[in-house]
Symmetry: D2
Subunit: 348 residues, 4 copies
C-alpha cells in the first residue's frame, strides 16, 4: 500500500521532503506537485523522476483524485489556506511550521479540524523525533528523576543571515523549544517573561541577542531559556531537566574525541541542518506509516496552535518587559491523543 502525496511548495524544504519520500523512505509516492514558480515544480519533478502531475495551484492539487495526502511546504503565509482546504477535502496534511502565521489562524484550523471530527493535521516539529530528545523524554517519563521542577535550555546559532529579523529569534528559532518542551514535560505554559542581557557586540544592533525567556508551566515547572543566535562558536542545542532526585541532559551529538594541540576536545556542529537531519527522516516515515494506518501521531494542529500562542506571548513579554499570562482555551478532548507514545514507537 502506497500513500500518494501531493506536495505544495517545491523550494528547499519541499524539495528535500520529496527526496526523502522518493529515495529514502518507504510507503509513499509523490504523485502531484505545485509551486508559485511552476517551472521549479516541473524541474523538481524531473530531477526525481516523479510520475507526478504538476498543478497550477495548491487548491487544485488538494482536490485532485489521485492525492491521498497533502504536504504543505510553501511560504508560511499560505499555510493556513492550504491546511484548511485539506481539512475541507478530508485529507491528511503534513504542514511545515508555522501552522499559520497568527495564533488566530491556528485557531481557525483547530476549529475546522474539530468540526470535521478527525485529526488530519500534523505540524513539522521534528525535534520530537530526534533520538536525543526521545531518550530524554523516556528518562523523564520513567520517573527516575522524580517530578520535573526546572528546565534549563539554550538555542544557540553560530550566526544569522542579514534578513533575520528581531522577531525571528522567537517565531523561527525558539518556536522549536516552545513546541518540544510542552511535549517533553507533557505540560502547558501559563506565563512568560523575557529579559535582555547585555547585547553581544558581534550581533546586529537591531537584534536583542542574546535573550532570556523565563516561563512557567501549569504544573509549576520553571523554564530558563536562552536564545543566542550569534554565539559564534557552534550550533548548540541544550536541554537539562532538574527533577526531585536527579538531573538529565539532552545528549551531545556524536563526535570523535580528539587529543591534539593541547586540548581534549569534541567537535561541535556549526550548521543547524546537520543537527536534526535524522529526525526529519523518522518524522516523515512516521507520518507516512501512521497515515496509511488512518492514524495521526505527531504534533497536532493543537500543538501548532499552542506554540503560536506561546510565541505571541514571548514577543509581547519581550516588548513590555512584563510577565505575560498565556491563556489557552481548554484543550478539546478531541486533542488528548496518545501522540507521544506513538511517536516513540516510530523510532524503535
Amino acid at each position: 500500500m502506497t500513500l500518494r502525496v501531493g506536495v505544495i511548495g517545491t523550494g528547499a524544504i519541499g524539495r528535500d521532503h520529496i527526496r526523502r519520500m522518493t529515495q529514502v523512505l518507504k510507503g509513499a509516492a509523490v504523485v502531484a506537485v505545485t509551486d508559485v514558480n511552476a517551472a521549479q515544480a516541473q524541474q523538481v519533478a524531473n530531477e526525481f523522476n516523479l510520475q507526478a502531475a504538476v498543478y497550477d495551484n495548491g487548491l487544485d492539487l488538494i482536490r485532485a483524485q489521485e492525492v491521498d495526502a497533502v504536504m504543505v511546504t510553501s511560504w508560511g503565509a499560505t499555510h493556513e489556506e492550504f491546511v484548511l482546504a485539506s481539512i475541507a477535502a478530508g485529507k491528511p496534511v503534513f504542514c511545515e511550521k508555522p501552522l499559520a502565521v497568527t495564533a488566530e489562524g491556528c485557531k481557525r484550523i483547530v476549529e475546522a479540524e474539530a468540526a470535521f471530527g478527525k485529526m488530519l493535521v500534523q505540524v513539522g516539529y521534528m525535534r520530537r523525533y530526534d533520538r536525543g530528545y526521545r531518550v530524554l523524554k523516556e528518562t523523564i517519563d520513567s520517573g527516575v528523576i522524580g517530578h520535573p521542577l526546572i528546565l534549563h535550555c539554550a538555542h544557540r546559532n553560530v550566526s544569522v543571515p542579514d534578513f533575520y529579523t528581531r522577531d525571528m529569534s522567537v517565531v523561527d528559532t525558539f518556536i522549536h523549544e516552545l513546541d518540544v518542551h510542552r511535549w517533553l514535560l507533557d505540560d502547558d505554559y501559563v506565563s512568560v517573561q523575557v529579559v535582555r542581557p547585555r547585547r553581544s557586540s558581534l550581533s546586529g544592533e537591531h537584534l536583542n541577542d542574546p535573550l532570556l525567556v523565563y516561563m512557567e508551566t501549569a504544573k509549576g515547572v520553571r523554564i530558563n531559556g536562552e536564545i543566542f543566535v550569534n554565539c559564534k562558536y557552534g550550533y548548540d542545542i541544550q536541554c537539562q531537566v532538574v527533577g526531585e532526585t536527579g538531573i538529565v541532559s539532552l545528549p551531545e551529538p556524536m563526535s570523535v574525541t580528539m587529543r591534539s594541540e593541547a586540548k581534549l576536545s569534541n567537535a561541535l556542529l556549526t550548521d543547524w541542518k546537520d543537527r536534526f537531519i535524522e529526525a526529519y527522516d523518522i518524522e516523515l516515515q512516521d507520518w507516512i506509516d501512521a497515515t496509511l494506518r488512518g492514524e495521526m501521531n505527531g504534533p497536532s494542529a493543537w500543538d501548532g496552535y499552542s506554540a503560536a500562542v506561546a510565541a505571541d506571548a514571548c514577543l509581547a513579554a519581550r516588548d513590555s518587559g512584563d510577565i505575560v499570562r498565556i491563556d489557552m482555551p481548554e484543550r478539546p478532548s478531541f486533542y488528548r491523543s496518545k501522540h507521544s507514545e506513538s511517536a516513540a514507537e516510530a523510532i524503535r
Copy 2:
C-alpha cells in the same frame, strides 16, 4: 528499478535482513527464500507478506530466473558453497560473516571471483558502515593526527552464553576488529602475538578471558587489542588511534547525561544488538544501491579472506605463545577497489 533478492537462511539474521529489505530500505524485493527448515522459510514469507517463492535448497534459489542477487544468511559451514554457486551463476551475493569457515575456503572464493573477472561478493562486516567508525576513519584520513602509529582497542561483552567456545573470542568476536582495522588504517597485518592476563574468576574456566592481542601492520602500526567477553559492566567497543600529532577515539554511543545518586553518568549499552543496529541498515541499503548500479562497495571477498587468515594466525599465536607471521599472497589488482570512499558516500 528493484533488486530482486533471494535469501538463503531465514533464521535470526536472515529474518532481520528480510524485515529490513521489506519494511525499511528502498530498492529491493525479496522474491525467493529457502531454509533447511522449509516450514520456517514459509512462515517468514508469510510474516512479511512476501511475494516470494520458497525453494527447496539454496542452489536452486541461486539459479532461479527471478533472482537478481543472493543473500547468504544460512549456517556458517554452508556459506562457501552458496557463495561459489552465486559466482558461478554470475550473481551478486551478500554473505554474512564468515565468508567461509576456513581461510582455504575463502581463498577458493577469491580465486573463483578473480576467474570470473568481476567483484560479486560482499561480506557482512557492518562496522565499516557505523557512523562512529566512519568519522574516525575520516579524521585519520584527513591527516590531522599525522601517520597512525599505535591503535588501542577493546571488545568487551557483558557475558557470553554457555555454547560460546574458546575459539569464538577470536573467530566470532575479535573478527570484527580484524576486519575493521584493516579498513580503518588502509593496511595489512604482518604478525600477531596473543598473551593471557590473569583469568577473570567470573569467566568460564574453559575460556581465556580476557585476552590481549598484539599485532603489527605492514606500515608499522602496532595494535593493542583487548578481548574481554565477560566484562560484566557493558557492551563496550573502544578504538583509539595514536598518530604523530594527536589521538582520535571512536565516539561513545549517544546517551543522556545523568546527575543522580552521587554520580555524573552516561548509560552504557549492554546488548550488542543495540550497538550497530543502524549500521546494518546503512550497510544493506548501500549493497542494494551499489548492486543496482552494477558496483560493489563494501567488504570484499578479499577482505573476508584477509580476516580469516588473520583469525587463524591469532588462534595459532594464542596456542603457541609465539609471535606468528601473517603471510598473505599479494593482493590481486582486481581487489584494489575504492570501496572505502564509496561506503563513505553511503552514509551521507
Copy 3:
C-alpha cells in the same frame, strides 16, 4: 617573622582554622583564644598544644599586646562588635561570614574602616581561592570568550538539616554565589527577581526549594541562579559564563572515571565540606602572608557589605515576587583595591 593570631570562637570552624594555622600553614602562631564556652577554648588550646592565653572575652583578646591579628569565628550575631573593636585597635581581622547579620551592620564596619584609613578586614569567602573558580576567572579575564553576557549557576545540596530555615537558602547558601560572582565578573548587582518553581516533594514544606534567582549587573550581565538544597543526588556547584564568542564552565571536582554496572560515571561529592577544603588552606595562607606584608588581598569589608545588601534584596524579591532594585552607595576609592590579582598570586 610570625603573625601572632588571637582567635575569637573555638567552635567547629574556629577549631579548624586553629588546626590549619598550627599544623598546615606557615607564618602564624595562635597566641590567644576565647569562646563563650571558656572550657572549650581551653580544650582546643590543649588539643593543639598552643602556647596561648585563654581570654574571658573577645574584646580583651583584641586589645591584648601579644595579638597582632584577630580571627573572628564566633556566632554570627557577635561578628560586628568584634570586627569594629579590631578596627578600633588598628589590628587586621579575618572574619568568617557573615561580616554582620544586617547590611546596616556591614555598613558601620565599612565606615569605621574608611575612617581608620587602612583596609584591615578580610571576610571568609573562600570560593575566591578555589582553583576551579580561579581558572574560570583567568579564562574570562583573558578575553577568550569576549564580554560576559550571561551567567548560569546552581548551588545544590543533598539535603539540609532540620534547623535550616527558609531564609538560609539565601543568607547561608546563595551568599557564596552573591560574593563570588561580583568578583568573577568584576561587576555589581543592580536588580534581583526570585521565582519559585514547583516545590520538591522531598523538601520541607516550610522551604521554597528549589528557588530561581534572576539578577542583573551594572554591566548588563544576566545571572540565572538555581538554589536547590534538597536535590538528593549530590553537592553540586555549577557556574557557566556565556560570552560573546564562547562559554566557559567551572571544572568538576577531580574524580576517577568508572565503567561499571552499565554506566560510564564519575563520582559526585555529597558533603559540602569536601568541596572547598583546599580553598580554605589557600585562603588562610594568603591572609597570613598578606598581613605579614601589611597588605589585604581577600574579600574586603566592602565585599561583605555588598553581599549583605544583595542578600537582603533577594529575600525581599522572594517575598514580594517583584523585581527589586539593588542600590549600593558609590564604592569608596579606598576599596578599589587589586585584591583579585593578589589572590591569584596566592595560588601560584
Copy 4:
C-alpha cells in the same frame, strides 16, 4: 619539634625542595647545604634566608651534629654514596630518583639498610602522593572492580630536549610508571617485552619513539604501556585498570570546559612540571611528619631497587626484542611495610 635537614645538591630540584621546606611546609628547617658548586649552595642559602651551614662536601654534611635528616638532590651518579653514608650515620634520608644508577648500587643500599635494621631511605617517586593516583588506588583496593586483570597506561610528553637519549625514555620517563604500578597493584613484575611501533617522523631518529612496553606481574596482571615522548599535543599521563567487574581510570587534571571555535574542549597540560606539582608538596610533608615520628612511609629503598631492576629489564627487552624475565630476590620481611596506607593518610 622541627626536623633539621641537610640538603646535598642545590640545583633545580634541590633548590625547589628547599623552597618547599622553608616557605610551604611545616616541621622542617634546612640547617645545612652543600653543592659541588659551593657558590651556588651559598646563594640558595641566602635566597631563602637559611640559618644554614654551607658544607664542603656531602659526607661532612651527613655527619654533622646538627643534621637530623638528609636530602639527596645531587647528580644521580653520587646518590649511592650519599645514601650509604646516611645509613652508616643512622640518619633518615630522602633521595631523589634514581636511588642509584645501577641495580647493583640499589642492591648495596638495600643490604646496608637491612644490616642497619631500620628503614631510613625514602625515594622521590612522587606519583604515589598524587591525588589522582591515590583515588585510583583507593578504588582498586575497595574491591569495586574485582581483581585487576589488565593495566593500560601511557606516558606522553610534548617533546624532549636534544640531550635526551634513547635510554632516557625508560630510565627517566617510564621509571615513574615502573614504580607507581607496583604500588598501585601491590604486585611485582615477572617479565617484560618491548616493541617498536612505526617511529614518529617528528621524533629524533636516534630515539625509538613511541615504544610499547608489555609487562606481566606476579599476580598475572598484564600491563600495556605506551611511551611517547614527542607526542606533540600535550603532557598526558593515562592509567586505566581493567578488573573483573569494571574499569577505573586515572582522573584528568582539573580544567575548565570551553565551548568555543566549534569545539567542546578541556585544556591539556603541556609542561610536566605542572602535572605533579601538588604531589611534591604532599610527599615532602609526609616525609617530614613521618620522620619526626620515627617512621618511614614512602617509596623505600626496596622500591627504588625494584624499579631499577625493572628498568634494566626494559632496556634489555628493547634491545633484544625478547621477552625478558625479571627476577628479584625474595623481598626481605624487613620491607613488608604498611607504606601505602600511611601515605594515604598523608593526603587526608
